[in-house]
Symmetry: C2
Subunit: 288 residues, 2 copies
């Protein structure tokens, strides 16, 4: 495995690989890798094929964190990440520096160009985290321009992000195929996330409330033609509010493709939830 | 010369060229080609070298026109443009369709992702034409993603645009070299522009007021260490206001690199002007 820090070195390395016709796949991450990331890497290895090159980038992107969010305390463990990437047969571990990815935010060298998706980014996660998706699309665009991958892999756990990246690729004609990978869950059906690290071990099981809420909604629509959104949300809120130390941020029901909120929920409607479990913000989603 | 309308066909064609190691150069235009464009094309031919491929794109980009601007009446003459490109040895004339470049602005298929440079774009031309540079950077980003050129050629006539494109390339890590070409002028020193077409032939000479104003400023700073910006602007306004049918939009003095306005003008300060000559909006700029 090559470990590369500079954009220039990466380009050189990939230039040679591309010349011999290698398919290049990118797995953009913020590190602190878990089984969810491993499934992204495995999908990338499979998709790239025998002579392909899989690049895993680790960059905790300051642009996608709000001023009161957890940028500083976001968990990091490069040693473990490196070991995982080696075990998984990653070809390049790309560790770009702040000075190349995101120079000063003010001053004469400040970054002043951004990629902004204006519609889908305003909903749900975007409403709760203003500027979040602008940070995501900008950094992903930069990674696409640096790596120029044939494909890039994203998890369905961040479903709205996945759809926004797909929209960006379509709107800006990026020559990159987006490969999506199903959410990986633990034995309690908690969607894996680096932020679970913030939970006390004894609270971890509480996090299953996100999946249980989705199941509750799924049960409801399974036996009905449809149900009014506000009515279903009401029922779910009552279900959640019975728990201590769980606070709902949003429960959203929308069209899987357009992300437009729906007035009536039925089988096939997409559901996304964000909750604070013991003070830790977690998200999950599924097609009902 | 290949004339190509679809993104897919262009990619196929360029894919083959790149495989044999050809350097690819892009000259993005809105058509109605004049000697200024020809000098861009010649620079591209030279820069691409013997085995290179020069792509000229013609696309009148609706995104960069304001609602009250001249999008509809912007001059078009494909027959003449085609002839010019053939004469100049252009390899590919790329004529993308609205449906590929800029699908509906509302509705489910609307484009919702844009590339926005937030600082330089707010000044001068951007102040007079809100949204203009957002349209420019977005379309140029799309063309870069479609063509994936090794270099792209822009004229210094649109100096602010040139600097914004360079900033975009730096901020988003586009692997594209930006080549700039000096402004081409007619016998009266009028900077060539497709919009000169709007002038009655008898008003064309009046357009030299832009260059003459720049010369006036140049004369002023040639003999002084510096001059206060407001004082110089005042003098120039008086000079211009002696003419009939000329209205100043802006006279700006700024640092060539940062585009920051200066309080004092001296040799080397950059100057840009926008004026309505007989109702037609024209721009020019130069380093003093």
């Amino acid at each position: 495995m090559k470990e590369i820090k500079s954009v220039e070195t990466l380009k050189e390395f990939l230039g040679t690989a591309k010349k011999r016709g290698a398919v290049v796949g990118l797995v953009p991450t913020m590190g602190y890798l878990h089984d969810g990331h491993i499934s992204l890497i495995r999908a990338a290895k499979k998709h790239a094929g025998k002579n392909g090159v899989v690049v895993v980038s680790i960059y905790v992107n300051p642009l996608q964190f709000g001023p009161n969010e957890d940028f500083k305390k976001y968990p990091r463990d490069l040693k473990r990440d490196r070991r995982i990437c080696m075990d998984e047969g990653v070809d390049v571990l790309f560790l770009p520096s702040d000075s190349e990815m995101c120079p000063a935010l003010d001053g004469p060298n400040a970054m002043t160009t951004f990629v902004v998706e204006e519609k889908l980014s305003a909903l749900y996660e975007g409403e709760s985290r203003p500027g979040h998706f602008k940070g995501v699309t900008t950094i992903v665009a930069k990674l696409f321009n640096i790596v120029q991958p044939d494909f890039a892999v994203f998890g369905e756990k961040d479903y709205q992000q996945l759809m926004i990246i797909k929209r960006m690729v379509r709107d800006l004609n990026y020559p990159v195929k987006i490969v999506s990978v199903p959410t990986v869950r633990d034995q309690n059906n908690v969607a894996l996330s680096s932020r679970l690290e913030y939970l006390k071990p004894e609270s971890r099981e509480m996090a299953s409330i996100l999946w249980n809420t989705i199941q509750k909604a799924r049960d409801r629509v399974a036996t009905r033609k449809s149900i009014l959104t506000w009515r279903l949300r009401d029922k779910l809120m009552r279900y959640i509010n019975r728990r201590k130390n769980v606070k709902v941020d949003y429960i959203a029901f929308f069209d899987s493709q357009t992300l437009e909120p729906v007035r009536e929920v039925k089988k096939g409607t997409h559901m996304a939830v964000a909750m604070y479990v013991d003070g830790v913000r977690l998200i999950d989603n599924a097609k009902l």
